[in-house]
């Protein structure tokens, strides 16, 4: 259920889909690189994702 074109409620929390899509595009590029180089481990990738989500979610 969304209350604006860019917002959606997930588990009772409002998510800005525009911000989420931005993180998603970044993630795909990062994953495409990592699929080949295997430079970053799963744990490092999870940390990177959480850091990026934090940056975007807290950016007003």
């Amino acid at each position: 259920m969304s209350n604006s074109t860019n917002e959606i409620i997930v588990n009772g929390v409002t998510v800005d889909t525009k911000k989420a899509e931005k993180v998603l595009s970044w993630l795909i590029r990062r994953e495409a690189e990592n699929v080949r180089t295997k430079a970053r481990t799963d744990v490092q990738m999870i940390t990177d994702i959480q850091k990026r989500i934090k940056e975007e979610a807290e950016c007003y």
């Binding site: 588990n11 009772g12 998510v15 989420a20 994953e31 699929v35 959480q50 989500i53």
Partner: protein, 653 residues
């Protein structure tokens, strides 16, 4: 990745340092390397994989040129080197593999140390070296080894790959397609987002409310249980796949072996016919031989005719009196009176007449014998008159046997060949029932496990909702919840997007591959691609599936590789999509040898249009045709020359 040049030094039969520069012009993008069998085409194709990954298919792992090693004295060392210049992602790379060899006192050649691997690249005009610790990663970035087989391939490998695809073992190909077209990034991102969501659960501050810890524990236990059920379901899938394959196999065998009972019956009848023919032959030969009993008479006909004539001329037969013998004459003389009533006494005319007659009556007379002989002659001549026609007829019967017998034997042999390898239908049916029962049990287990899983998931979702209500009361936990909601949203939308993209790519691939397949084989057949990337060849007219020939099999894999390359090429630089891919060269060893002239023409027509760069190694026989059809696209043309008929020294010109 596009190839610029390959420099080899003392690599197998390539003596000294030799350089091959590849065509990389967008219009003239084909490099043709021609040579007779044994001149080193396959060797050079292997030089690529050795240079990039240190791997070759050679049985003899010593790569040092034999002509070079022959000139070495014990203690001497020589280096084998392969240097590949290429561009990738706009960067110029030089990849070098080197291996040192030493000649021992015994005269053998031993490698010294490991292969030395170097990657250099140009950055802002400066030559840089990739650090040793990053070599593997960088090589994987340029072209992962598991994908290399789709770009550096030979005829044999094509055949193996196409068989696996046609047999429904497309997993490996599916992985390669996903990787080449950038879908691997999707699956990796989905996996990392799922783990990210889980990781947020651990970040809740349980001290804010003691119930959060309880819910966390409950959720964790339910997750463990769900994971266990997922594991069991995955095992069921693994177990069911071979069972389903076996069922398909048995059903096909039963269908195929339906013929076997009919064939066995036919064989029985043919064996009876064969035995009858053998008996008939024996009878015919006996009859033919019995005709020969008349042979003496047949061949003595002339002699008998001459003898009869001589007897007639001698008038011998007329002097005798039929049925009168010597005893009759003696009786007439002793009684002194003849049959005619004349008195018979010693010396009178009647006596003299009877005495003369005595010489012509049996046993002393030959008159009866002559008459007898004449009768026998006539009978024998009469009996032997039909000998020739009898012989002809019997001989024809004997000859006819040979034709019939050969035909029956051939039919029996054909049936035996068909029956060979056919199984007992009854046993196959029993096996099929057993496997079908097993599959039903597995399917029932799956239904039960899925039910359990749904219950656990509902419990977990309820616990999560309750926990989320509590976490909202704490500022830090609320923040974690927001991040988690973002991760959850990304996870859900990416899964949805992946499903759409994957389906779209599969459909595009099927269409692209079919277009290429039709170019090569004509419109009669089409390929369908299942969700698991298994391939089926379909007859366009009937719509039914078809058995594949060798040329079709090769065309299938050829069309697939070319199709993937074409799609990768198209998606390059397409910023609107999420696919990330690179152009790749096609390096093929003897790709045309399995095709006839017409298909060589279509393959030659299709290749340069699809791949950004094509390097083909071909033997002289195919080379002339390939050169004829590729003429407009050939940017470089090279030939392998063998030094003085030697098998160990090849030069590129």
């Amino acid at each position: 990745m596009l190839l610029k040049s390959l420099k080899v030094k003392d690599f197998r039969q390539f003596k000294g340092e030799q350089t091959i520069v590849f065509a990389d012009d967008s219009q003239k993008n084909v490099t043709v390397i021609m040579g007779d069998n044994g001149t080193g085409k396959t060797t050079l194709a292997q030089a690529f994989t050795w240079c990039l990954y240190g791997e070759t298919d050679f049985d003899d792992k010593i790569l040092l040129c034999k002509a070079t090693s022959k000139d070495m004295i014990p203690g001497d060392t020589e280096k084998v080197r392969a240097e590949l210049s290429l561009t990738h992602n706009g960067i110029e790379y030089t990849v070098i593999s080197e291996q040192l060899y030493r000649k021992t006192e015994r005269g053998s050649i031993d490698p010294v140390g490991q292969r030395k691997f170097t990657i250099m690249y140009k950055q802002a005009g400066q030559q840089e070296y990739v650090k040793e610790s990053q070599l593997d990663g960088r090589m994987k970035e340029i072209l992962p080894p598991e994908l290399a087989r789709y770009f550096f391939f030979d005829g044999e490998r094509i055949t193996r790959m196409s068989k696996r695809l046609s047999q429904g073992k497309g997993d490996e190909f599916a992985r390669a397609v996903r990787s080449l077209l950038g879908l691997d990034a999707f699956t990796a991102a989905i996996d990392h987002l799922r783990k990210t969501v889980k990781d947020y659960d651990k970040q809740y501050d349980v001290n804010s409310d003691s119930h959060i810890a309880d819910y966390n524990q409950q959720i964790s236990m339910l997750d463990t249980e769900i994971a266990r059920l997922d594991d069991l379901l995955a095992r069921l899938d693994l177990e069911e796949t071979p069972v389903a394959e076996k069922i398909d196999e048995l059903q096909a065998l039963i269908e195929k072996n339906k013929m076997s009972s009919g064939l066995a019956e036919k064989k029985k009848k043919l064996i009876a016919r064969r035995n009858a023919l053998v008996e008939q032959k024996s009878r015919n030969i006996g009859a033919l031989l019995s005709v020969f009993k008349q042979a003496p008479s047949y061949f003595a006909k002339r002699m008998m005719r001459d003898s009869l004539q001589l007897l007639k001329d001698a008038n011998k037969t007329e002097k005798s009196v039929p049925f009168v013998n010597a005893q009759t004459i003696r009786h007439l003389i002793e009684r002194g009176r003849c049959i005619c009533g004349s008195k018979v006494c010693n010396g009178n005319d009647a006596f003299i007449e009877l005495t003369n007659l005595y010489n012509y009556v049996p046993p002393k007379s030959i008159g009866d014998s002559i008459i007898d002989f004449c009768d026998k002659c006539k009978e024998k001549v009469r009996n032997s008159e039909s000998m020739f026609s009898d012989f002809e007829a019997k001989y024809a019967d004997v000859c006819a046997f040979d034709t019939d017998y050969t035909e029956v034997l051939q039919e029996i042999s054909d049936i035996e060949k068909q029956l060979l390898g056919m199984d007992d239908v009854g046993k196959l049916q029993a096996d099929l029932m057993r496997y079908q029962t097993h599959r039903r049990r597995l399917q029932s287990d799956r239904v039960s496990l899925n039910g359990d899983k749904r219950v656990k998931e509902t419990d977990r979702d309820r616990a999560e909702t309750e926990r989320d209500k509590l976490t909202l009361k704490d500022e830090n936990n609320r923040r974690v919840m927001i991040y988690k909601a973002y991760a959850q949203y990304m996870y859900d939308s990416l899964r949805e997007l992946y499903a759409e993209q994957e389906k779209l790519i599969r459909e595009q691939l099927e269409s692209t591959v079919n277009a290429i397949f039709h170019d090569i084989l004509g419109e009669g057949f089409s390929l369908t691609l299942s969700e698991k990337y298994d391939v089926q060849v379909v007859l366009n007219e009937s719509g039914g599936s078809s058995e594949t020939s060798t040329a079709q099999n090769i065309s299938i894999i050829f069309a697939f590789i070319a199709g993937v390359i074409q799609m990768a090429r198209k998606s390059q630089g397409d910023d609107s999509g999420l696919l990330v891919s690179e152009p790749y060269p096609l390096v093929m060893d003897a790709p045309l040898s399995s095709f006839d002239k017409t298909r060589i023409q279509t393959v030659c027509d299709v290749l340069p249009k699809i791949a950004e760069q094509v390097i083909v190694f071909i033997k002289d026989a195919d080379g002339e045709i390939a050169e004829e059809y590729l003429a407009d696209c050939i940017g470089k043309r090279l030939t392998f020359n063998v030094a003085n008929g030697s098998k160990i020294e090849t030069y590129v010109s």
